[in-house]
């Protein structure tokens, strides 16, 4: 169990507070302890022995882990890493939420992951480019198996290997940082070359562990592969499409232009207000902190409802699930899809 934070990472924060306006939980509460700076103050108090580490539990759970604080931080604080350390320190034993324990169990071994995908088929196993392997995901294969099938269809060069584990992002974000890193390394050995993923969260975690050059998120990869897509036209008009960033893809890997580039080619692209702001899915957060997650997404729905969108594109399964559920609950007709599905439509 972790006893200390990495000192050099904690020391980096100069407490300027520039992160406050970017933080969704600070925006909800106006409470310093629910801001990135406040949480770092708490981590420091624990490090210095002024505060028992149990006192980090509430805030380590309330934080979405969206890392919106990172791009606005002038001092370059790696808040995402500190958060993972905070959860590693606090979410142990009886403090680990039951849901997290259940999720860990579900992805513990390859066969369990394959069971996740049994009810609906994912992309079929095939050998193409040995150095380009599609990541089938754990929960994505359960929730949105169509995504991997779609990518396999529009990208014949991609190899699909059924025997692949979980990338460990789930673990890293939920108090098992070392285990999560070990899982990413195992995955990296199983899938040689570039790992192509349709989940921004997985992309950021794999990249942070085994290197940026080993992973490509779908939109990032697609814009290099094919520059020209024709517009999707319905009843004589281009379809209207909005886009929700994946927090970790944008804030962790700096990928946000590429999906927009794709959508501008194939649709009448509409930039939704605060597209870079977390939708409240935040991995397991929507399960662990249902009420807070709904508060965060409520503003998102409000922002989207009058835009008259045909589709809202995403690049991460958690966002797809959260937004699809929330938009449906609000009675909107907008369909939430992974961006690859729109690319597939454009290709006919």
């Amino acid at each position: 169990m972790r006893e200390e934070f990495t000192k050099s990472k904690l020391d980096r924060c100069i407490s300027c507070g520039y992160c406050l306006p970017a933080c969704p939980t600070y925006q909800l509460t106006g409470a310093e302890e629910s801001s990135p700076r406040g949480r770092i103050t708490l981590m420091r108090a624990v490090q210095d022995g002024r505060l028992p580490k149990e006192n980090l539990l509430a805030e380590s759970s309330f934080c979405l882990g969206c890392r919106a604080c990172e791009p606005v931080c002038p001092a370059g604080v790696e808040y995402g890493v500190l958060l993972e350390e905070m959860r590693e320190m606090t979410w142990q034993g009886r403090h680990r939420p039951l849901i997290v324990r259940a999720l860990f169990l579900a992805v513990q071994s390859q066969w369990r992951i394959r069971i996740l995908g049994l009810s609906s088929p994912v992309a079929r196993s095939r050998r193409a480019d040995p150095n380009l392997n599609l990541l089938l995901g754990c929960f994505e294969r359960r929730l949105f198996p169509k995504v991997s099938r779609t990518v396999a269809k529009i990208a014949p060069e991609v190899s699909v290997t059924p025997a692949q584990g979980c990338c460990g992002a789930l673990h890293a974000h939920n108090g098992e940082l070392k285990k999560g890193q070990a899982m990413a390394r195992v995955l990296g050995e199983k899938l040689p070359g570039v790992i192509l993923t349709t989940a921004g969260g997985c992309a950021a975690h794999i990249s942070a562990t085994i290197g940026k050059e080993r992973v490509q998120e779908f939109s990032q990869w697609w814009v290099m592969k094919e520059a020209d897509l024709s517009p999707i036209v319905r009843q004589g008009k281009k379809i209207r499409v909005g886009f929700q960033d994946s927090c970790h893809l944008r804030n962790g890997l700096g990928v946000f232009k590429q999906p927009r580039q794709i959508l501008e080619q194939i649709s009448e692209y509409v930039e939704i207000p605060n597209a870079s702001g977390c939708c409240g899915a935040a991995g397991s957060y929507s399960l662990l902190q249902r009420s807070n997650s709904r508060k965060v997404v409520a503003q998102k729905v409000e922002d989207i409802k009058d835009l008259n969108l045909d589709y809202l594109a995403t690049v991460n399964p958690g966002c797809t699930r959260q937004l699809a559920t929330s938009l449906k609950r609000a009675g909107l007709k907008t369909k939430v899809v992974h961006i690859s599905e729109l690319v597939s439509l454009a290709k006919g």
Binding site: S15, A31, E33
Partner: protein, 463 residues
Amino acid sequence: MSSSQSSPLVGQLVSILGQEAVRADLTSLEAYSHDATPLFQGLPEVIVSPRDTQEVAEVVRFAGKTQTPIIARGAGSNLCAATVPLHGGIVMSMVNMNSILEISKSEMLAVVQPGVTNLDLDTQVGKEGLMFVPDPGSRSVSTVGGNVATSAGGLRGLKYGTTKNYILGLEVVLGSGEVIRTGGRLVKDVAGYDLTRLLVGSEGTLGIITEITAALVARPHASKYGVAYFESLGSACAAVERIISQGILPSTLEFLDNTCLVAVEDFAKLGLDTQAGALLLFGDHGDSEVIEPVVEKMAALCNEVEGCRTVTLAQNVAAAEALLYARRCSLPALARLGTLSILEDIAVPRNRMAITTERIELIAQKYGLRVGTFGHAGDGNLHPTIVLDKDDLPQVRKAELAMGEIFALALEMGGTITGEHGVGSAKLPYLEARLGREQMALQRAIKSVFDPHGILNPGRLGS
């Protein structure tokens, strides 16, 4: 996130404000035990978040009865330890009073609650073609209430002045719990002492600001920037003097010394000339036909100065943004060189700036400290920043001694110990050297009138 009701103080405050506006758990208290100033820490006893003036007044009356300190706090982004609860008591967070009550285009003013952020206000008035002038580096986070309480400056101080020049009226809760309204919406109003001006910069020691009427200006349409490199800070200062003595008062005249330049370049990779002794960023905004020749003239004047290496005008917005970014990221770029950065804020008459920066160098050498200096060349406001390792206690002690010498130097030059950050706790020990005994006594007397129970941010100005 829950409040413990163990102490009678907390219980009373809950009965005034309700459970949701009162927090007293150790986690919350710890989070409010700091602001943006390093080396200062103190736990409050309770945090309250009032929603309107009446609630503020009730809490103040209660605190008066019980002799409990109250520290009003905005975003806690100040750099002078003005909001660290060194004497315990109540931290009053103003961030939930964050409404823009009115924007009047015809009167060119806005009426706001104290918790609205500087950037939010400027963005909203921008939609009406107006501008809120004060632009401290912290503008995206700092609150207008905090800006008023510290009379915040910023990058356009030379041309436009600072917060104190833009506050028309205030609503304030005094230490007695009485609510007064000073000034109003008028440009001209000399009825009585100018209490508005007295309250601006009073750092929460005279009253708690609950409403602000701020003057706005027409939003400039265009901007243009350039950069000049010099062999030394001295030659950069000569260029500044030359520009201003030509009657040019641009919105931007900022400089970085070589230490900053190197740090910024290492961090941001902007292609700066790291061999130069100083960088001068100059620029103006207004109508493009007016500012184009002004900025070109500034470039020409820089070129004439001995020791000028190169002068370049930013050809587009992106290039201008990169230049401004170089200036704005000076502090974080410097901060990366150590684990503790002590940022100071002296101001000296413009014509003493060159000699002041040279003397700061000598002080740095004397103590063996790494000091980078950047600042607002146009208004003589310098930010010498000492970067060190916070665990190296002898070095921290040396830094404190060096700071003392830098303050003394500023006073010797006819300057001041703080240009725009405020006194707070950080500079209080040096205040008497600036003001003298008589004024210190007068300040205390003034405070006792506004705050008879001595509860408003005690241990700071006027205590």
